[in-house]
Symmetry: C2
Subunit: 453 residues, 2 copies
Amino acid sequence: MALTTPRTSPGTMELLPRRQMVFQRMLDTIRRGFERYGFVPVETPVFEIADVLLSKSGGETEKQVYFVQSTGSLEQGHKPDLALRFDLTVPLARYVAEHEADLAFPFRRYQIQRVYRGERSQKARYREFYQCDIDVIGKDTLALAYDAEMPAVIHTLFSELNVGPFRIHFNNRKILLGLFEGLGITEADQRMAVLRQVDRLEKISLEEVRSALMGEGLGLTEGVANRILEVVGTHGTAAAVLGFLSALKDRPDVNPIFRQGVEELGQVVAALRAFKVPETHWSINLGIARGLDYYTGTVYETFLTDHPGMGSVCSGGRYDNLASQYTKSRLPGVGISIGLTRLFYVLSEAGLLKDGPSTVQVLVTQLDPTLLADYLAIAAELRAAGVNTEIQLEPAKIARQFKYADRAGIRYAVVMGLDEQAEDLVTVKDLVTGEQTRIPRGDVVARLAALVG
Amino acid sequence: MALTTPRTSPGTMELLPRRQMVFQRMLDTIRRGFERYGFVPVETPVFEIADVLLSKSGGETEKQVYFVQSTGSLEQGHKPDLALRFDLTVPLARYVAEHEADLAFPFRRYQIQRVYRGERSQKARYREFYQCDIDVIGKDTLALAYDAEMPAVIHTLFSELNVGPFRIHFNNRKILLGLFEGLGITEADQRMAVLRQVDRLEKISLEEVRSALMGEGLGLTEGVANRILEVVGTHGTAAAVLGFLSALKDRPDVNPIFRQGVEELGQVVAALRAFKVPETHWSINLGIARGLDYYTGTVYETFLTDHPGMGSVCSGGRYDNLASQYTKSRLPGVGISIGLTRLFYVLSEAGLLKDGPSTVQVLVTQLDPTLLADYLAIAAELRAAGVNTEIQLEPAKIARQFKYADRAGIRYAVVMGLDEQAEDLVTVKDLVTGEQTRIPRGDVVARLAALVG
């Protein structure tokens, strides 16, 4: 038979086991963090009925969807009726609408699954990637204090992920929308175009944004551009920014939406302090707009201080109504999302994710084939005591077995030869320090359980 | 906008959060068990390049494949070039062949992911379901003792899954193949047809199988049918069955493959005893054939004693060469697989999987909106201490908040009203016992950490 070259589709991430362990630890940390904050797990099928998935989507998303059909459907020339999820938000909307009667609100769910985008393949752009999402969904209303819980979760997670210093930037879109409306920018397309320019502030200078706002296409007056940049360019401590906004807000000509945005922002800041999220880790950033029209209030982005070029590693926001395409119920919510595959890729490239010790803690080596029953018994005892144990059943030189364990990140090796067996002893070798200790056979479980514990 | 009815594709399992927690606990138990036995994690993309995935497959599998293509590919009228994996074995073969140079052998991997089959939808048949697999892959050779490790893993897992009594049945296919060959049943199709009849022994009587073997299509003589049934119908303790086989094996006319099968079976039994797998939990079952031609030696099935109709809940076996379609390297292996989605479904239907306590351990209730900052601070402290805590930020009657917690499976509620706050006290309520205790505000973390710990 001619051989087929084994290969994976471009745009997918497949890891060797030791890297997979690093990835898995990040997933575990995130899940533990989500559970710590009282979010409950949801998993949805990887594919949705295409009509249901795409009932609300705009053109851009639909262009990137992966459609799915069975052999039978394909052979009969049907159009595919299934599609892979492209995010976890539409499946959440479908889930909440479908199971509404069985859920208690506010509904707090976490979901950690892969999503799929039929993007053109390029470096660090994935067609399959993990999203780690939480959302709190209210029925009719959702208290603003939930908006402060999101940065608290981000703070806990990114501290535990151990990826260096980070800072959560947040804003309230009502401030921008109210500002624009007050300045006569009321048409939806124009508003989105202005938002897009504001969003570029992280990458280009204030002057360049000013030119763009006044340039062809938008054509804002210098006065209007300056009013916008005065707000979105404001930096400083939360107290200073809130002070600046309060002063603006109290001007009689100010738009009521702007005023509401400022009030909400102030309340979120107060709640954030009550949640004890240290101010070293968050800032008000009036330049955060988030592209999506979806968001209606608080919006978040998170930046790794040492890797500004990475862009936001955890984003989200408040929305007025989750599932208007599926239900008449009004379901306001707030949520955040971590794109873990890309984060893992970028951190790996930056050398920030070293291989840790293996999940395998002990290797029971094979020195003499006639002692097989002893090796099996030792492995069985270690496993029963909760020690993750591999046993080498294939005959090989002992030096090669040590080398294997070392390369695999297994720290401890158990060795027993005929002479040791005769004396009822075993040797425990620490492959990191090189230290070897002979101990009574009967002590091996207690010793190793203590070492790995 | 007209509403779209929110619904999922038939053949998928989607759970409410409390059921999802039960499922998640089973997944965690299985993963922990796999890691305890020194298996390392692998995840592969949900889709493979179709030509790579299907390079070896027979007709039946291909009929059930889900093909995947992006919007662009679909619009251009291309044939799909991607397909969802239908098991974890072909992706493993592709993975090992692709990364062969970077892997150390014997390579022990676990993989817990969903697989996809475009089956006709019917009760308890899933199009998307979890498989939980382990395999040990050797390079050129793989010691037989690894075959005894699989039942040891099954024993640990199913004991910890707490699904009632179970028994692992195993056999060695060489015994059947050698037996058939010795009886002149050498043609592949005929051999498979005989194996299929033998496989029915769990469901129909010995007499019926005898008729089938002698009936149209197969047309074996009564003598040959009897010789087959004498072997596959043999029951008893491992010692008795091995004794019976040894007596047969020593007959001079016996086929060498049969003899080898008996020897291997004896060695696996000895290793199984050294692994201390209790004999109450396993049997030699000479009727186990496993449909797949893939297996070449030891084969396993696992039955829940109280649910014989469920069929095998964990199966697998030894194979000579994992990845002959991808590499010239010879890669013998042994592995097992649990189809968790179906197992979960059947156990649920049988009422064996009760909802457990929620992953959320404490609900901080809201009695007075003016105390919001106190509630946030209490939640922050509990979470920092590792207690999974939800906070109720939406105003609601306290009785409704208790009802919510009770229904959600949250055991403890923290209550603080204005009078309690004035005295620096909080109330901790146990929703299972109904007990309420007032304790100093400063003790709340220690008290709850102890209660949930």
